[in-house]
Symmetry: C2
Subunit: 408 residues, 2 copies
């Protein structure tokens, strides 16, 4: 008998009928003789509705009260799901974050889980009940309700799986797994049977928004086998786990991309210590998140400093840099908000040389100009003109044979 944690997001429980469908899935899993703990989000749209009410009340809603308000969303879902389960003849009990004793720090609206006391949940499981826990929420030492931030339900599920030493944490979503790339761009994209935690982190942070990064980090840290699969279709999904020695590893697992990028360059910066900090400090102070950073070797004692930001922050960043440019005595500031980032991710890169050069050659063969390059141990990212995005993704998908399953 295995213990599974299931997690269903807002879309999966978005209507009364969908909650009934989820209840059926859980009842089936339970009847196969497994212990089931379920984590659910608020019904889709509910969190936004509550946020809207809060903003009508107060320009910057008090964070403690915002958590009290938002946590009602999941509380509604856990109760309705338990009713649907009982209606299916499957005994179930619901728990809010506080009742499940998910202890967090006191950072309202972005709390971190410190500990979970699972004794009461265990008792219910021992009595043959399905345990349904509200995602996204916890309680601090004072007894105040806290929330974990958007997408925190994934984190709740992984944390519960770790605390209960579950055999697997199953994240049910509206996609049936993790793909080699976005099927809307490359129809031949293939579902991966498995992917490593590190690859998943790179894929997630690069824009394949299947799972919350924090949840993947958490799963990796506590070695919780994580599976992404569809609420609406049957299928094995994608297992996210540690790299196994004996497992035949594909060179490249997938191609991620991000359309929302813009790049900025300070040209002709005097090449001296402290320049990077002088440029990026004011950007960070303005709460603008910086993604890629590239600095070329100096020529004639000056250098060009380039970085990318979210497209929404482009105008603001450009404005800030004009002032920085003058102060540093740099030549000028240029920028482009019609760019995209395309990245190849794979732990296979570690042991295989030449991936990057094959990538660059394939792009060059299609006449695609590379504007920036950045690499890490398991990924190569390039910045391209936006118009080349689809062509680049399809070219790389084909070049690295991602439409075919790796040989066993």
């Amino acid at each position: 008998m295995a213990l599974y944690v299931h997690k269903y997001g807002g879309t999966s429980v978005g209507t009364v009928d969908r909650i009934r469908h989820v209840a059926n899935k859980i009842t089936q899993a339970r009847r196969q003789g497994n212990d089931i703990v379920v984590v659910v989000s608020a019904m889709s749209g509910e969190t936004d509705r509550l946020l809207g009410l809060a903003r009508e009340m107060q320009e910057h809603p008090n964070p403690r009260e915002l958590d009290v308000l938002l946590s009602t969303g999941e509380q509604v879902t856990i109760a309705l799901l338990c009713m649907a389960l009982e209606s299916d003849g499957c005994p179930a009990s619901s728990y809010t974050g506080a009742q499940a004793k998910i202890l967090t720090d006191a950072s309202h609206t972005k709390a971190r889980i410190i500990d979970i006391d699972t004794s009461r949940l265990r008792k219910d499981l021992d009595q043959g009940k399905v345990v349904v826990v509200a995602g996204f929420q916890g309680v601090n030492e004072e007894g105040d309700i806290t929330t974990l931030g958007r997408g925190g339900s994934d984190t709740t599920a992984v944390a519960l799986a770790a605390a209960l030493k579950a055999d697997e944490c199953r994240i049910y979503t509206d996609v049936d797994g993790v793909y080699t790339t976005d099927p809307r761009v490359e129809p031949r994209a293939r579902r991966l049977d498995r992917i490593t935690f590190e690859e998943m982190l790179e894929m997630a942070s690069l824009g394949s928004k299947v799972l919350q990064i924090r949840a993947v980090e958490f799963a990796g840290k506590y070695n919780v086998p994580l599976r992404v699969l569809s609420t609406f279709d049957d299928g094995p999904g994608t297992l996210i786990t540690y790299e196994e020695e004996e497992m035949e590893q594909a060179l490249i697992s997938g191609i991620a991309f991000n359309r929302d990028e813009a790049k900025l360059t300070v040209e002709g910066v005097p090449d001296q210590p402290g320049i990077a900090a002088a440029i990026l400090g004011p950007i960070a102070d303005a709460n603008i998140e910086v993604d890629m950073i590239v600095q070329n070797v100096a020529e004639n004692d000056t250098t060009d400093f380039t970085f990318t930001v979210h497209r929404n922050d482009y105008a603001k960043a450009l404005d800030i840099l004009q002032g920085v440019c003058q102060k540093l005595g740099a030549k000028k500031v240029t920028g482009d908000d019609q760019i995209v980032k395309v990245s190849m991710v794979g732990v296979g890169m570690r042991s295989h040389a030449g991936i990057a050069s094959r990538m660059f050659r394939a792009l060059a063969d299609e006449g695609i100009n590379i504007r920036m390059i950045s690499t890490s141990e398991i990924k190569v990212s390039v910045v391209l003109d936006e118009k080349y995005l689809e062509l680049a993704v399809r070219t790389l998908h084909e070049t690295f044979g991602l439409d075919q399953a790796p040989a066993a």
Copy 2:
């Protein structure tokens, strides 16, 4: 410096604007130097919306889960109200029933309050904060969420006032006090400055639905001064308190009436022990609530047995009685669902004889036939044909001078 408990019902907090209005009232009361604890209901319509969802999920929703679901209604209001208060510059903290440590028994959907640990609320008050507590809900010893049943927010307010030894518990509603009778029937009806707990209980149970009976009982038991007043208009409202020796007591405080009555009579019942039980047993078994019961003295060894029920239960009760009649060898069953009950209530009756006869004479002078009579220590109720309701109420209102304030 006084401590007041304010309670605002669903209509008073039914919209964002109304919550802001309530916040303004509270801020004013706070700035007058008083400590304020606020109890709020769910926004009007919310509890029904949640109930509807529950019934879609399960024919008879699991009571534990129903409480988890319904309690979100008030939780939304406490958070929004605190935001509105903070936006007014009035520091406030919200508490769910569980967080306010309102300990109840385990009877889900109709729990009774056992104890309240006010230590954390006191700490907030000492720090100058307004404390906002979710009405209608508590927590049992297991940590499960419980609710007190419809209208339970009044009970929460009175219980908190008792536990905190508040100077007054103020129930804000959409009426500006308790009236001598319904102003829609008698335009000269007068707002009472004060009324005793006992009178209020009789008025409430007789159909003047201003306050929950349980809350009035609770206030009487713990001697919590209770005031009913309007959320929307200023004014002193009506104070509900104990009878004071020195206070000039009106003979009659008010006239209550109930349109939803129907009466049933079993005629020619053999006059022997156990008859009442034999007639009312099957009625009770069918979950029909019986109001007035009258049995006349026997003539020729048989008697007539009459009682009233809610008009909705009339057909069912009639049906049950046909069977009972045969079994008992009674003559026949008759009934009438076009009747009303009119009651005069007043602690002054205790020390003044002749109230009932003055009442009967006044009705007779208008040609109104009395169909049934029932009396208690502080009330006289008569059953009349429905068409006489308004005439009877106005006649009695005039006869007993209720439109004039009692002489000081």
